[in-house]
């Protein structure tokens, strides 16, 4: 128990991300409304972003924008330990864009489905398909 507790305390970010992934996936699979599914998908994607950003964190460091701003006075060396890991942020910028793009296309498809069937409930759509 104590191990779990300490694991939770030292890694709570990761716990949260796993929870979010599970919530998102559950919504994506179990919900019968297409928009709810889309929301679930987005939650899962956001959870992944949280995970990556968590990787980048470093205790006692600041955002990766260098202090000695205009870079020319390079005489005081930059210490990597002072700044958090920029790479996950870079990656997540990409992932955010991807999730926005996916969301856009998903919504467009949902609109198309709605135009076609007049509903976004999967059961009702299925009933219409079975009828024909």
């Amino acid at each position: 128990m104590e191990a779990i507790l300490s694991s939770f305390l030292t890694k709570y970010n990761y716990w949260v991300f796993i929870g979010l992934v599970m919530i998102g996936l559950y919504a994506l699979i179990a919900k019968r409304n297409l928009v709810k599914k889309i929301i679930g998908m987005n939650i899962a994607q956001t959870a992944v972003i949280l995970f990556y950003v968590s990787i980048g964190a470093k205790q006692g460091s600041t955002i990766p924008i260098l202090d000695s701003s205009h870079g020319h006075d390079a005489h005081h060396a930059v210490q990597a330990i002072d700044y958090i890991n920029p790479l996950p942020h870079v990656l997540m910028l990409t992932a955010i864009v991807v999730s926005v793009a996916t969301l856009g296309v998903a919504l467009a498809l949902a609109i198309k489905v709605y135009q076609q069937y007049g509903t976004l409930e999967e059961d009702e759509i299925q009933a219409q398909i079975d009828k024909t």
Binding site: M41, A44, Q45, V48, V98, T102, V105, A108, L109, V113
Partner: protein, 502 residues
Amino acid sequence: MTAHYSALLIVVPLVVAFMVTIAGWIDKRWCFPLSAAALLATFLASVGVLAEVQQNGVVEYFMAGWEPPVGINLRVDHLNGIVLVAIAAVALLNLLGTRPIVEKTYADRLGAFYTLYILLVTGLLGITATGDAFNLYVLIEIAALTGYALIGMGPGRASLSSLNYLFMGTVGASLYLLGVGYLYLATGTLNMVDLAARLPEIYDSRLVLSAFILCLAGLCLKMGFFPLHAWLPNAYAHAPSPVSSLVAPLVTKVMIYVMVRVMLTVFTPVFAFERLQLGGSMVWLAVIAIVAGSFLALSTRRLKRMLTFIIVAEVGYMVGGFWLGNRAGISGAILHIVNDAAMTFCVFLAAAAIQQRNEGETIDDLQGLFAKMPVTMAVFVVGGLSIIGVPPTCGFFSKWYLISGGLAAGHYGFVAALLFSSLINLVLFFRIFEIAFFEPFTDHHGGHGHGGEGVHGVAIEEAPLQMLVVMVTAAVMLFALGLYAGDIVEGFVTHVIPAGIL
């Protein structure tokens, strides 16, 4: 310029894609020639890269001039070299062949169609060429997004199928992304080769195992490996014909390539085959996939749907062959990636031509088609024979390797599944041939009605010439790939497989 071939084969279509959008708003007539020129250039570049690989071994290209792991690199070896050529060739041929259909169906949004088409191809090429695990994810999403859009424009249930595909595809890609994240957490790098170098010390870590399973699960979902295939038949069967003849041959195959790449290059066979001992269970899953795919294909009478279930079975071939973990099996899987792309393209293009001519979509609508569309049906027969695995078409030779892999591994279940699926394919295709050949049948002996010249009895209504030329080229390719199977394996595939694998 030769040094830049590997970059050009991705950059050229990418740049042209944006130009096509612009051209679409200025003068639509430019869309097709631009696209065709771009894909032709890509094809030539891919051949150039392959030639270079053949001569000097692995070709690396450092984006922005930074060597990995700092920058992103393209890394083309024998494995992705042939896959690149296959993608470029199929994409180009399909573009040329389906032009009549596309220009009729999407006249009002031609620019968008061709842009999405080229971006999809770019995505696939990028997936294949890249040496960076995260870059792979971005490109998977490019290929996927454009694919959803193209598939969603089909008739009938296409938009719903495409939305389901989107859900599944996103989950698959997210799982893969999580896997990469776990790997990054464990090693601090994203480059495949660097990962492979840093992983062995921590093979025992739970992180690596979960990363492995996440990547594998994500990729299995993306490739439509049974039982994660549910999205595939609907999406591919309802897609517009010119799109299904592009995505059906390429997308799943590229995902299988990614699996092979990740397993061979990132995790290395030592981990994938020796430490985990996953092979046996994966092969049994593949057996189930093959058998289930075959039965599902038997159960439908819709032409394109049947073909998609065949793809489900074929995915089983390749996954199973790879996880046999021996030289013959992996060779067979890799060879089958190329061969299956060619033969799936062949049959889907023929199906596109058929559906364009007669509106029906079940196999019962194909009556008398041999007389009406002899060339199309001849191509369809060649494709079918290749899928059945009749020599000297290429399908036979990859099956040959897969079966010998199964024998060498002593995995008789896999051998039996392959043979079983061949027999089912025989039934599937001859069911179609029979209908197309003999119906509407008449109960007479001697056929006095036809006056001896049955061929000229029905007016020939062939597909447009452009399509025919492409189809015939594809059919000839099936024979060529078959007759040169030995050279392909010796020249390329053997270099891919690590020496440790027997």
